[in-house]
Amino acid sequence: MRVIMRIPEKKEFTFSGPKKVREILRELKMNPEATLVIKGNTLLTLDDVVEDGEEIEVRSAISGG
């Protein structure tokens, strides 16, 4: 699977699936309290599973201001 991050900088990761969202966030060291996982036009919860060949975006919800 492809995991895309846009902020603070553009990055891309590849994981082998199936894998739970919770696991993906743990490996990326992202705090679930400040993160959304986007697939298409919807969101995934921590127990959702991402399969090989799928693409998701992990987006930090923290912004300045």
């Binding site: 603070p8 400040a34 959304l36 969101l43 995934l44």
Partner: protein, 310 residues
């Protein structure tokens, strides 16, 4: 995980409420929280004309969207600060949002009105860009609201923004800032009424609302905001939240309910009067915006003209 209301598959978990929602019920929950903030703090009614400060980011666009959905009379104000590609891209998002909804977007450009941009300000003043930027935004927001005769100014500050500010104010025991921190600042001495309808919702919730309603916002951060102190405070509060869900919310709402009143009586309110140059309210002879602009070479006539003073 299933939606608490309809048992359909959930799209978002909210540990602070120990719950989860499907798309439909999350949007309903979100709009309800905004409605509740507006009512609890008596922010405005459907009669009032509201000006929303729109940056092109998630919070301000989501706020505008929800106010329109709830039937309020809300226009947007975009302030173009001339921060290169970032300003261009964020302005486009704001314009596209307004056009798609047939909503009114007012635009003020620092470059057009004062022939200076935020990066230029920062360079001449040798100050961090964010301080000049915040000052300019506050000033122009109030000025434009006056010109457009709006009753209320609304900003998209969310729970995380406010909790981080509160954390910083408490760490330094800045009593004056604590007194001023409020979901509603009443109109007085030439300042318009100011409100923050998103204070019951976290940053993560506003981002989720934007994604689930298809609001196209600028994801990139302002290049000047990187490494800001408020990020550190937000991170620490989110770590706390991870261990005790709801802690952030309790911290902020508890302050509004009890802490603020306790501190309010102990600080003095400075006297406010009109700026000798532009007429906007200030505690000095000349307001800090005019002083900043004069230091970078903007002349008095231009400041007066932009402010609509003869």
């Amino acid at each position: 995980r299933l939606c608490k209301v309809c048992k359909a598959k959930a799209v978002i978990e909210l540990p602070q409420h120990n719950t989860a929602f499907c798309r439909e019920h999350f949007l309903a929950y979100f709009e309800n929280q905004v409605r509740r903030a507006i009512q609890d703090f008596r922010m405005f009614t459907t009669e009032d004309r509201i000006l929303v400060a729109v940056s092109g980011g998630k919070d301000s666009l989501v706020l505008w969207e929800v106010l329109l959905r709830l039937g309020y009379r809300a226009d947007g104000l975009y302030i173009d600060l001339g921060i290169g590609d970032y300003s261009a891209a964020s302005r486009e998002k704001a314009e596209a949002f307004a056009a798609a909804r047939g909503a009114t977007l007012r635009i003020v450009s620092l470059k057009e009105q004062y022939d200076v941009t935020v990066p230029e300000l920062a360079r001449s003043l040798r100050r961090p860009a964010c301080s000049g930027c915040g000052l300019a935004k506050r000033y122009l927001f109030n000025l434009e609201a006056e010109k457009g005769e709006y009753d209320v100014l609304a900003t998209g500050h969310n729970l995380d923004d406010e909790a981080a500010t509160l954390f910083g104010n408490v760490l330094h025991w800045n009593l004056e800032a604590l007194r001023r921190q409020s979901p509603v600042l009443e109109a007085e001495n030439g300042f318009r009424r100011k409100v923050k309808p998103l204070i019951r919702l976290t940053e993560r919730e506003t981002a989720a609302y934007a994604i689930l309603t298809g609001i196209d916002y600028i994801v990139e951060e302002c290049p000047h905001a990187v490494g800001a102190r408020s990020h550190l405070y937000k991170e620490l509060l989110n770590q706390l939240e991870l261990h005790s869900p709801g802690a952030k919310r309790q911290f902020l709402l508890g302050f509004y309910e009890r802490g603020r009143a306790a501190i309010e009586g102990a600080t003095e309110r400075p006297e406010v009067r009109p700026c000798k140059v532009c007429g906007q309210p200030t505690v000095a002879e000349v307001c800090s915006f005019c002083r900043m602009m004069q230091r970078v070479g903007v002349d008095e006539v231009r400041l007066m003209t932009a402010a609509g003073v003869e």
